[in-house]
């Protein structure tokens, strides 16, 4: 895990800690892990993870990748997100990686893909814009 304080703030937020979200940083590549828990299930009949839980996880991974990508003063704030649900997310762990399409001075554009058993069979994708506050070069 990185010693980046903002990443710790993100992970230390009550909601993120509550649902056990992890961010594994290998070199400059961030992989989000949402370990399976019973209280992530939205529809117990299938059973499938809640679309909101998967969506929230993708948002956290998006924010994490922006923090890792460049020094920021504050947590990124979502402006809009579009989540596509490709397959039911089953009662297993979920993984996700983000690609920052553009990280400017005010706004960043991010795409995130989540999968479970097979990387080539994504369960959901997120495309979103975030408001960011890059730290000034001198202060960094």
């Amino acid at each position: 895990m990185s010693d980046c304080p903002l990443l710790q703030t993100l992970l230390g937020a009550p909601y993120v800690a509550r649902f056990g979200i992890r961010l594994d940083l290998n070199g400059d590549e961030l992989t989000g892990v949402l370990p399976f828990r019973d209280d992530l299930v939205g529809n117990p009949l299938i059973p499938a993870l809640h679309g909101g839980a998967v969506g929230a996880f993708l948002e956290v991974v998006a924010a994490g990748s922006l923090i890792v990508g460049q020094p920021l003063k504050r947590l990124p704030k979502p402006i809009d997100v579009a989540i596509d649900y490709l397959r039911p997310a089953r009662a297993h762990d979920v993984y996700a990686r983000a690609q920052v399409a553009r990280s400017g001075r005010r706004v960043a554009n991010v795409r995130v893909e989540a999968w479970q058993g097979r990387r080539s069979a994504p369960v959901a994708t997120l495309h979103g814009h975030f408001l960011i506050a890059p730290a000034s070069r001198e202060a960094a």
Binding site: Y15, R18, L40, H50, A56, E59, V60, P78, I83
Partner: protein
């Protein structure tokens, strides 16, 4: 709508929230359910804060609330037969919700036919005219949800709703 139909929708609405572990974990509850419309709320809870500096609830709470209320409106929009799966969900976060305030979400199924339903929703923290977020979503009746519904129907007929 007949009183029997309204009672049926009320029961289904509660079943679809109380029966959802994640909705319970977030403390979501149903205010009202009608034909193709639903209103739900998320109570402000410190354990669901997303930004410790400001005390604002995590966006994930709003995401889950909007997903759930849209799903409920789609469910009754489809006639209350099958639980639909979310195809896509687009959310615009207009402003942060005020710390300490509950978030209310109202959803309306704009059209449902065949296998697909289109839903629009607004989330606010007191004033519907000053939304926290707005959402648009599409839902679909899938084979998995049909099969699950069938199992649930048999369970209920056998006397015990799980």
């Amino acid at each position: 709508m007949t009183p029997e139909r309204q009672t049926f929708l009320n029961q289904l609405g509660e079943l679809l929230v109380d029966g959802s572990p994640h909705a319970m974990a977030l403390g979501l509850s149903v205010d009202s359910v009608g034909e193709g419309v639903a209103q739900m709320r998320a109570d402000y809870r410190e354990e669901l804060i997303g930004d410790p500096e400001t005390g604002v609830l995590h966006g994930g709470v709003v995401t889950a609330l909007l997903d759930h209320v849209c799903g409920l409106a789609a469910f009754t929009g489809f006639g209350g037969e099958h639980t639909p799966a979310t195809l896509d969900l687009r959310i615009d976060y207009m402003r942060p919700a005020e710390p300490g305030k509950d978030i209310v979400a109202e959803a309306e199924c704009l059209r449902s036919h065949g296998l697909v339903a289109f839903v629009r929703a607004t989330a606010h923290d007191g004033d519907p005219g000053d939304p926290v977020a707005i959402a648009q979503a599409a839902f679909m009746i899938t084979q998995a949800s049909k099969a699950a519904q069938e199992r649930a129907r048999r369970d209920i007929e056998n006397g015990g709703a799980s």
